[in-house]
């Protein structure tokens, strides 16, 4: 896969997980827009541009997963705070469960440690090393580890 194609895939992956990540942050406490942006930016590579958080928040709200309300704290400008709803918590719990399984599956495939399927191929240190090396590795031994 070329670098550009990999980057495109990564962008799609980010888009896919950003909603649940926002819900997870709001699960801890209500937050305003810039707070969310800063926390997501701090998670390396999760946010491609700050502005995309706002349309996403609106989508989450339209879907009934978050609510928003204005808060006028003394000494600060009025801000719109976002909170997770019970439906949002339920969705997040479902995503967490799915994600754990999904991540384990993908990790298993990528690292050739999945039980059954690719793991059934001969071990890399056997005589048929080439049969289990990743495409493009030119027969080098695949020494990645499952994290």
């Amino acid at each position: 896969m070329s670098g550009m194609a990999a980057e495109g895939g990564l962008t799609e992956l980010r888009r896919g997980v950003l909603g649940p990540c926002v819900l997870a942050l709001l699960e801890l406490r209500p937050r305003f827009g810039l707070e969310l942006v800063r926390e997501l930016s701090a998670a390396d590579g999760l946010l491609t541009s700050d502005g995309t958080v706002y349309p996403l928040l609106n989508r989450l709200r339209d879907a009934g997963l978050v609510t928003s309300e204005w808060q006028d704290n003394e000494g600060e400008r009025a801000r719109r705070y976002y909170s997770i709803t019970p439906a949002g918590q339920e969705t997040l719990a479902g995503f967490r469960s799915d994600w754990d399984q999904f991540a384990a599956t993908v990790g298993g495939v990528l690292n050739h440690t999945l039980q059954g399927g690719l793991a059934a191929a001969p071990a890399p240190d056997s005589a048929s090393t080439a049969a289990v090396t990743a495409p493009g590795t030119k027969g080098r031994r695949n020494d990645r580890h499952h994290h």
Partner: protein
């Protein structure tokens, strides 16, 4: 500096572009997005932030067109990663699945006709005018008209008013923004006797489109090459120039103007006449001199 960060020219320009890009959104959605972005900038930047800090913050926000495109996605489908539906689209889809094949065919033909009809009359392009504060020049094409322009506000609308120069070429130029996801090709003047003209009263109307991206030559309208047709790629802006020979008969103090731009626009196989409202009208004011009609 005593104002807020939104008074800064860079921020104003960004918000103006966002407004233009958001014209494809429902008004409430556009207002909300603008309020969120404004609040974000107010929170992130101190009122005395310098140009560099502001430019960096705006760059982090992303292009206004991308935000509007992202916001447009909220009208359909599911929230990424959550699977949560945001519209009744899925329910409608499921109901349609139960419709028998023949009914499907009839429905498909009817929908296609409606879509084509809507497409031919819908507004996909939006116009914004060259702002004196942001760009080097005003909205009138010729310098003498620009110099004599009077900006008047009436009933919440703004009018650019310049003296009529009877028998001479006059004209204006506006930015046209494509907020859709597909290229729109302006293929010419869409005005005519049945729909109205793009000029306040003249002959030999000529509509041309700037070639190439705006910004390559700044916003100096004279630095662009204009042609009778031009592509406006998604999320991009072009200048549309309208020139005519003024023939209108106006008494002293009497004025007449245009408040919309009518273009022929092609998208893929479709060609339609698009009527684009102008936020500021272009008015000529009398008295006329010489030959008029």
């Amino acid at each position: 500096m005593t104002g807020t960060i939104t008074d800064h020219p860079l921020v104003r320009d960004y918000l103006r572009q966002l407004d233009m890009a958001s014209r494809v959104l429902p008004a409430a959605q556009a207002r909300e997005l603008r309020e969120q972005i404004t609040g974000h900038l107010d929170d992130e930047l101190p009122p005395d932030a310098d140009d560099e800090e502001i430019a960096a913050a705006l760059s982090r926000l992303g292009p206004p067109g991308s935000l509007a495109t992202e916001a447009m996605a909220s009208g359909s489908g599911t929230v990424p990663g959550t699977g949560a539906p945001v519209t009744a689209g899925i329910l409608i889809g499921r109901r349609l699945e139960r419709v028998r094949k023949r009914t499907w065919l009839i429905a498909a033909v009817a929908v296609t006709l409606v879509v084509i009809a809507a497409f031919r009359t819908a507004t996909f392009l939006t116009a914004g005018q060259l702002e004196n504060g942001s760009f080097n020049y005003g909205a009138w094409w010729y310098e003498q008209d620009y110099r004599h322009n009077v900006l008047a506000t009436a009933n919440d609308s703004t009018q650019n008013t310049a003296p009529v120069r009877s028998g001479q070429r006059q004209g204006y130029v506006v930015e046209v923004y494509n907020g859709t996801g597909v290229a729109q090709t302006i293929i010419g003047d869409g005005s005519g006797p049945s729909i109205g003209w793009n000029n306040p009263g003249g002959t030999d109307e000529q509509v041309t489109v700037s070639q190439g991206p705006i910004g390559a030559a700044g916003h100096d309208r004279y630095k662009y090459r204009y042609a009778p047709a031009g592509v406006v790629p998604p999320g991009e802006t072009r200048l549309v120039r309208v020139l005519w020979t003024s023939r209108i008969c106006l008494q002293k103090g009497e004025s007449q103007g245009v408040t919309r731009l009518i273009l022929r626009v092609r998208v893929g196989w479709f060609t339609r006449t698009e009527v684009i409202p102008l936020s500021d009208g272009f008015y000529l004011i009398g008295p006329s001199k010489g030959r008029c009609i």
